[in-house]
C-alpha cells in the first residue's frame, strides 16, 4: 500500500506528467470552443437568410446561363468554328431548376447533440489515449534509464509487485484525469448544443448509448496507457515505446496497407489497427468492397460488405494488452538489472 501511494506521488510530482496532462486538456478545451464558435443556432432568421441565399444563387445561375446561351448563339451566327466550347444546340444551355438549389446548403452549421456528440468521443479518446501513452511510457521509461528502478528494487526486491504497483498507480492517475474530463466533455457539448444547436430528441436511450460509448473511450485510454507503459518497460527507455509505435505505424500499417493493396486483398482495412479502434468506439465498422457487385431486387449494384464489431475489437485489445504486458512482466522477472 505504501508503495502504491509512493508511486502515485511520484507520478504526480513529475513535471512531464503535469505538462502532458495540461496539454491534453487544453486541446480538448480547444475542440469544444472551436465547435462552439463554428456552429450556430437555427432560428427563423437563419432559415430565412438561407432561403434568401438560395434564391440569390438561383438568380445568378439563370443570369449566367442566359449570357452563355447568348454568346453561343452569337458565335454560331458569326460562323466561328465550334471548338467544343459550346454545344451544337445552344438551347441546351439552361439554368438548373429552382428546387435543385436547396436552402439547407446555406444554413450555418449547427450542433445536433443526438447526431454529432457520439462522433466527438472519438477525438476525445484519441487525444487522451495519446497523452496516456506518452505519460505511461515516460513514467516507467525514465525510471529505467535514470537508474531509479534499480534504486527502488533495492528497497522492494519483489520485481513483479513493483512493476504492477507502478502500473496501478499510473492507471489510477489516468482514470482520475479521464473520468472528470469525460464528464466535462459531456457537459461542454451539452452547452454547445444548447446554445449553438439543438438538444432535441435526446432520449434516455440516446443517453445510455453515449454513456456506453464514453465508457469505451475511457477503456481505450487505459488500454493505450498500459501498452505505452509495458513497451517502455520492455525496452527500458521511453524512446523505445515511442519508437516501437512509430515502427508499427510505418512498417506495420502503411507498409502492410500498400502490400495488401497490391495483392488485391478484398478488405485491406481488416488488417489495419485503426479500423478496430474505430469499431471499438462506433460499435461497428462496415467495410465495403466496391469491386464486387451484388445486384438487388431493384437492379442496383450494392458493394459487398464486411462488418467488424466492437466485440471483435475487444478481443484484439485484450490479446494485445495481454501480450505486451505479459512480455514486460516476463522480462522484468528474468532480466539482469544494471
Amino acid at each position: 500500500m505504501s508503495l502504491y501511494r509512493t508511486e502515485l506521488r511520484r507520478l504526480t510530482k513529475r513535471r512531464f506528467t503535469r505538462y502532458m496532462t495540461l496539454l491534453g486538456l487544453l486541446v480538448l478545451v480547444a475542440v469544444v470552443l472551436g465547435t462552439f464558435f463554428t456552429n450556430q443556432k437555427l432560428d427563423a432568421d437563419a432559415v430565412a437568410g438561407a432561403e434568401r441565399q438560395a434564391d440569390r444563387q438561383y438568380q445568378e445561375q439563370v443570369r449566367w446561363s442566359e449570357q452563355e446561351r447568348a454568346a453561343c448563339e452569337a458565335a454560331k451566327a458569326a460562323g466561328t468554328p465550334n471548338d467544343g466550347r459550346y454545344p451544337d444546340d445552344c438551347s441546351m444551355i439552361t439554368a438548373p431548376p429552382r428546387e435543385a438549389i436547396e436552402a439547407s446548403w446555406f444554413l450555418p452549421s449547427t450542433f445536433n447533440f443526438r447526431e454529432t456528440f457520439p462522433e466527438t468521443l472519438i477525438p476525445f479518446a484519441a487525444i487522451l489515449a495519446l497523452v496516456g501513452f506518452v505519460i505511461g511510457a515516460s513514467f516507467v521509461g525514465a525510471e529505467w534509464s535514470s537508474g531509479g528502478m534499480m534504486n527502488l528494487l533495492l528497497w522492494r526486491p519483489k520485481r513483479l509487485t513493483v512493476l504492477l504497483t507502478k502500473l496501478a498507480a499510473l492507471l489510477t492517475g489516468m482514470l482520475a484525469v479521464t473520468l472528470p474530463a469525460a464528464v466535462a466533455w459531456f457537459a461542454g457539448f451539452w452547452l454547445v448544443a444548447t446554445f449553438r444547436g439543438t438538444t432535441e430528441k435526446v432520449t434516455s436511450g440516446v443517453w445510455q448509448s453515449v454513456t456506453l460509448t464514453g465508457l469505451r473511450a475511457v477503456v481505450l485510454v487505459l488500454v493505450v496507457t498500459t501498452v505505452g507503459f509495458a513497451l517502455a518497460s520492455l525496452g527500458r527507455h521511453t524512446a523505445m515505446a515511442l519508437g516501437g509505435v512509430v515502427a508499427v505505424a510505418v512498417v506495420g500499417q502503411f507498409g502492410l496497407g500498400i502490400l495488401l493493396e497490391m495483392a488485391n486483398v478484398r478488405f485491406p482495412q481488416v488488417w489495419l489497427l485503426p479500423t478496430y479502434v474505430l469499431a471499438w468506439m462506433q460499435k461497428k465498422v462496415t467495410l465495403q468492397d466496391w469491386e464486387s457487385c451484388n445486384a438487388t431486387v431493384f437492379g442496383e449494384c450494392k458493394p459487398e460488405t464486411f462488418d467488424i464489431t466492437w466485440q471483435q475489437s475487444s478481443v484484439l485489445l485484450v490479446v494485445g494488452v495481454a501480450a505486451v504486458l505479459g512480455a514486460a512482466l516476463w522480462a522484468m522477472r528474468r532480466r539482469d538489472i544494471s
Binding site: 501511494r5 509512493t6 537508474g147 527502488l152 528494487l153 522492494r156
Partner: protein, 336 residues
C-alpha cells in the same frame, strides 16, 4: 562471531553469441562478520560490482549460495531488504527531482519515517542543498546523496560500492569517520574501493578478488603480515646476544640476515614462534615487528597487477587462482 554476509562458490557467466562466455564470477567465496568494516578489493573488472549486484538480487547468479543476516538470498530478499542499505557503483537518480524528494519517495516506499530523510541529509552534508534538483548536483554531491539513500533505512548491513568515488578530501575523511561511527554503533559495513590507503585505515578485514575468484581474505594486519613474505625484524635487549639468536633461529629453519643492531628474519609463519625459540635460549626480545608492507603493495602482488615498465597491462590481466598464470610467489594458498 556470526556471519552477516556469506557467499560460497558464487558463479556468474555472461554469455554473448559473438564473444562467447565470460566468467565474471568463478566460484567466489566471501564472509563478513558482524560489526566489521570489511574491505572488498580487486582490480577493474574482477567482479566486485557483479558480486554486490548478485547479492542484492539485481543479477541472477548461475550457481553458488549466498546469505545475508542468516537468510538465504535471493529467496529471502524481501525479508532482509529492509536491513540492507546499499549503493552500487555510482548510482543514478531521476534527475528532475530534488534530493529531498528522491529520499522521501524511497522512504515512503520502504516505510521509513519521514523525519529520517532530514537526518541523513544532515549526516552526508547536503542539508542546505537538499531542495535542489539532482540534475544540478556535482559528482561528489550525487555520491553523498547515494550514501544518504543507503543510510535511510538505518540498515544492519551497509554495502558501499566505491563510495569515495568523486568525494573531495574532506568528504573522504568524513566518509571514514562516518564508517567508523556506524561500525561502532553495530552496523556491518562492506566497502569496495580502490583507495587502498583508505581501506587500510578503516577496515578490520578484507577480501581480495581477482578474475572472479578470491585471492586473499582475513583481518587486514594478518593479510599484510602474511604477504610481507614473513619478514620480521628482531631486536634483543643486548646487542651482544644477536649471534646466539641468529644461530638458534637458523637451526629452527628460519632464514636470518644479521644487521648491526637487529636481525632480519624471512619465512616466519608465526612471529610468536620466534619469541618462543629465543626465550628457550634465555634470550629476551625487545622488539619483534613484522616488516610493514602497505596494502597497496600486497594488493599488487596478490593480484599480479603491479605495473611493469614498458608494458601496458590490460584489464583482465591479473592473477587467476588455480589458473595457469599462477606464479610461485603468490601461490601461498591464500583464498580457495
Amino acid at each position: 562471531m556470526p556471519a552477516v554476509l556469506e557467499i560460497e562458490g558464487l558463479r556468474k557467466t555472461y554469455k554473448s553469441r559473438r564473444r562467447g562466455t565470460r566468467n565474471a564470477l568463478d566460484g567466489f567465496d566471501m564472509r563478513v562478520e558482524a560489526g566489521q568494516v570489511h574491505g572488498f578489493l580487486g582490480p577493474n573488472g574482477s567482479g566486485k560490482t557483479t558480486t554486490l549486484r548478485t547479492l542484492l538480487g539485481l543479477i541472477r547468479p548461475d550457481g553458488g549460495r549466498m546469505s545475508i543476516l542468516g537468510h538465504q538470498v535471493p529467496e529471502a530478499l524481501p525479508v532482509v531488504a529492509g536491513q540492507v542499505g546499499a549503493i552500487v557503483e555510482s548510482p543514478q537518480f531521476f534527475p528532475h527531482f530534488t534530493a529531498r524528494d528522491t529520499l522521501s519517495l524511497l522512504a515512503s516506499a520502504g516505510d521509513v519515517p519521514a523525519n529520517r530523510v532530514d537526518e541523513v541529509l544532515e549526516l552526508v552534508g547536503l542539508r542546505d542543498r537538499a531542495g535542489e534538483r539532482v540534475k544540478t548536483y556535482s559528482l561528489g554531491m550525487k555520491q553523498r546523496l547515494a550514501v544518504a539513500s543507503a543510510l535511510l533505512k538505518n540498515p544492519k548491513l551497509l554495502i558501499l560500492d566505491e563510495p569515495a568515488n568523486g568525494l573531495d578530501p574532506g568528504g573522504i575523511r568524513e566518509m571514514r569517520t562516518l564508517t567508523r561511527n556506524l561500525a561502532e554503533s553495530g552496523m556491518t559495513v562492506v566497502l569496495s574501493s580502490h583507495i587502498l590507503g583508505e581501506i587500510q585505515l578503516i577496515c578490520d578485514s578484507v577480501t581480495i578478488i581477482s578474475l572472479g575468484r578470491r585471492v586473499a581474505f582475513g583481518p587486514v594486519d594478518e593479510v599484510l603480515a602474511q604477504h610481507s613474505s614473513g619478514a620480521v625484524r628482531v631486536r634483543l635487549e643486548a646487542v651482544s646476544d644477536l649471534p646466539a639468536a641468529a644461530d638458534a633461529l637458523t637451526r629452527s629453519g628460519i632464514r636470518v640476515t644479521g644487521q648491526d643492531d637487529h636481525l632480519m628474519l624471512a619465512g616466519v609463519d608465526k612471529p610468536a614462534a620466534v619469541t618462543r625459540i629465543l626465550a628457550e635460549q634465555g634470550l629476551y626480545v625487545s622488539e619483534l615487528s613484522p616488516v610493514t608492507v602497505d596494502l597497496e603493495s600486497v594488493f599488487l602482488e596478490l593480484t599480479a597487477t603491479a605495473p611493469v615498465p614498458g608494458q601496458h597491462r590490460q584489464v583482465d590481466q591479473s592473477l587467476k587462482v588455480g589458473g595457469p598464470e599462477q606464479s610461485g610467489a603468490t601461490g601461498g594458498g591464500w583464498g580457495a
